[in-house]
């Protein structure tokens, strides 16, 4: 109970729980959409999803500052590629929050001269760019780790052992592919932080891709991906050792 209280006392912790709930509702609505007996439940879930989404928009009002601080911290990194990726990702996130805040002001009625559709698309676009930069950073880190691992002697022994055994597996027809896949899996297994971050970013990617119409998937898939990425977010917040650094 103490751990739960400590987790929820962080502003991010609560936001991630609300996000998970929001996408769980979206997924449930999709799964129950054709069930006539559950119409009442579907309406309740829709109302809950709308309310949580509106509440989260209000709660995001100060978050631009977080991204700007992250940009300042990222400028101090030594690795050039990492510095570029993380800075660009955070700048796009800051722009996304600004668009989001303007949309909130429009929804509440404070600013009426805003074109809701256009700013919604702008927000999705900024979010997409920040996710693409995050994924680029993940791929770069994975490549670096794979190169490092490939040079490791202990790993070379393990690889030779793997290649010599089980010749009836289909992948072995292309031994280079098999070696590559083995190296990739071993790298991801030894560095769970990168693996989790990559999965989270890939899941998140479906949301703006669907909203912008670049890759239209079903509401169910968007809900499922959102739920998975929120759960990974909760996990990394509860266990800081699983969080990717920097």
């Amino acid at each position: 109970m103490d751990a739960v209280v400590k987790f929820t006392s962080q502003s991010q912790g609560r936001d991630r729980i609300f996000r998970a709930t929001q996408y769980a509702c979206a997924l449930s609505i999709y799964l129950l959409r054709n069930n006539p007996e559950r119409k009442d439940l579907v309406n309740k879930l829709k109302s809950l999803e709308t309310n949580i989404s509106a509440g989260r928009k209000l709660l995001r009002l100060g978050n631009t500052a977080n991204s700007i601080v992250a940009v300042k911290q990222a400028m101090r990194l030594s690795d050039r590629v990492l510095r570029l990726c993380i800075t660009a990702a955070n700048i796009n996130r800051a722009l996304y929050f600004i668009c989001d805040n303007l949309l909130w002001a429009r929804n509440v009625g404070l600013i009426l001269s805003i074109d809701k559709e256009r700013w919604s698309i702008n927000a999705s676009r900024c979010y997409l760019y920040s996710l693409v930069m995050n994924l680029t950073r993940d791929l770069y880190v994975i490549l670096q780790l794979m190169l490092q691992k490939g040079r490791d002697n202990h790993f070379k022994q393990k690889m030779n052992q793997h290649l010599s055994e089980s010749p009836e597996v289909a992948e072995v027809t292309i031994p280079e592919l098999d070696a590559f896949v083995f190296l990739l899996l071993e790298t991801l297994r030894s560095e769970p932080t990168v693996a989790l971050d990559t999965v989270k970013n890939i899941c998140d990617l479906f949301i703006p891709l669907d909203k912008l119409g670049i890759y239209k998937s079903s509401a169910g898939l968007v809900g499922f991906c959102g739920l998975v990425s929120s759960l990974i977010g909760i996990l990394t917040l509860a266990r800081p050792t699983l969080r990717i650094k920097p």
Binding site: S9, Q12, R14, N43, L48, N51, N63, A65
Partner: protein, 258 residues
């Protein structure tokens, strides 16, 4: 920027900022009604207030657990009166949060048939009890500190009887030849007020907490119909107490302990 990020990362801090904004909207709304401003603007302000109120309810969803934990911690206090006041105040807060969660479920449509008025009154009742206990605790602490000061003064007097303390000399010289009981009582009351003022001035956490609770108490009193003051006064009190809470969060040394 850094300090804002740190402040913002506390879930409580955001809630207090929105509380301040909500009561500002209430105050603004009542001012606009009085000045007969455009109904559009009034509607925007009241919608904003309702939106913030609902979001704060969403943000408070887990707070019963925190209040119960605080009550568990308070049971271990050494002072009996403090233990009683603080524990029961936290238990009342936990009940208030539970009622608040039910109201949120009703407003979002999860619970379809909910008597909003009944549950709202219930939640304000628990809130009022918690505030009364907090004020009792403040008054008790002031009495303890006054007692301590009196004891301190009497030990000083007993250790050096020839040395008359300046205040005593002043009070004795400026004292009205107290022959009539009302004048005597008035002089005593004035001296007591002075002592209370000095005690509070030397204990900013206690002063802030007392001010905060005194401002807060008008909100449930108005909502329960026990002492109707109107939205302008309630808005001002709510805004003031929110600002005081934000100040205590920014400067943790100003928070009253335990």
């Amino acid at each position: 920027m850094d300090s804002w990020v740190r402040f913002n990362s506390q879930s409580q801090a955001k809630e207090k900022v929105f509380r301040a904004a909500q009561y500002s909207c209430m105050l603004l709304g009542s001012t606009l009604t009085k000045s007969r401003a455009a109904s559009d603007l009034q509607r925007i302000v009241s919608d904003l207030e309702a939106h913030m109120s609902l979001t704060r309810k969403l943000l408070r969803l887990g707070n019963s657990v925190e209040a119960l934990q605080a009550a568990k911690r308070a049971i271990h206090l050494s002072d009996g009166v403090l233990r009683l006041c603080i524990t029961i105040a936290h238990l009342n807060r936990a009940m208030y949060f539970a009622c608040d969660n039910v109201l949120w479920a009703g407003k979002t449509g999860i619970i379809s048939k909910l008597d909003h008025h009944k549950w709202s009154q219930r939640s304000f009742r628990y809130y009022l009890f918690a505030l009364i206990l907090n004020v009792t605790r403040n008054v008790y602490e002031v009495c303890l500190l006054l007692d301590g000061e009196d004891r301190c003064r009497s030990t000083k007097l007993s250790s050096s009887p020839s040395d008359v303390l300046p205040d005593d000399r002043l009070s004795s010289s400026s004292a009205v030849p107290a022959t009539s009981p009302p004048a005597l009582m008035f002089a005593r009351l004035r001296r007591l007020m002075g002592q209370v003022g000095a005690v509070l001035y030397n204990n900013p956490p206690l002063l802030l907490d007392l001010l905060k609770n005194s401002c807060d108490i008008f909100i449930p009193l108005d909502k329960l119909g026990l002492y109707r003051t109107g939205p302008a006064f309630v808005g001002t009190c709510g805004l003031l107490s929110s600002v005081l809470s934000i100040v205590t969060m920014l400067h943790p040394w100003l928070k009253l302990k335990p």
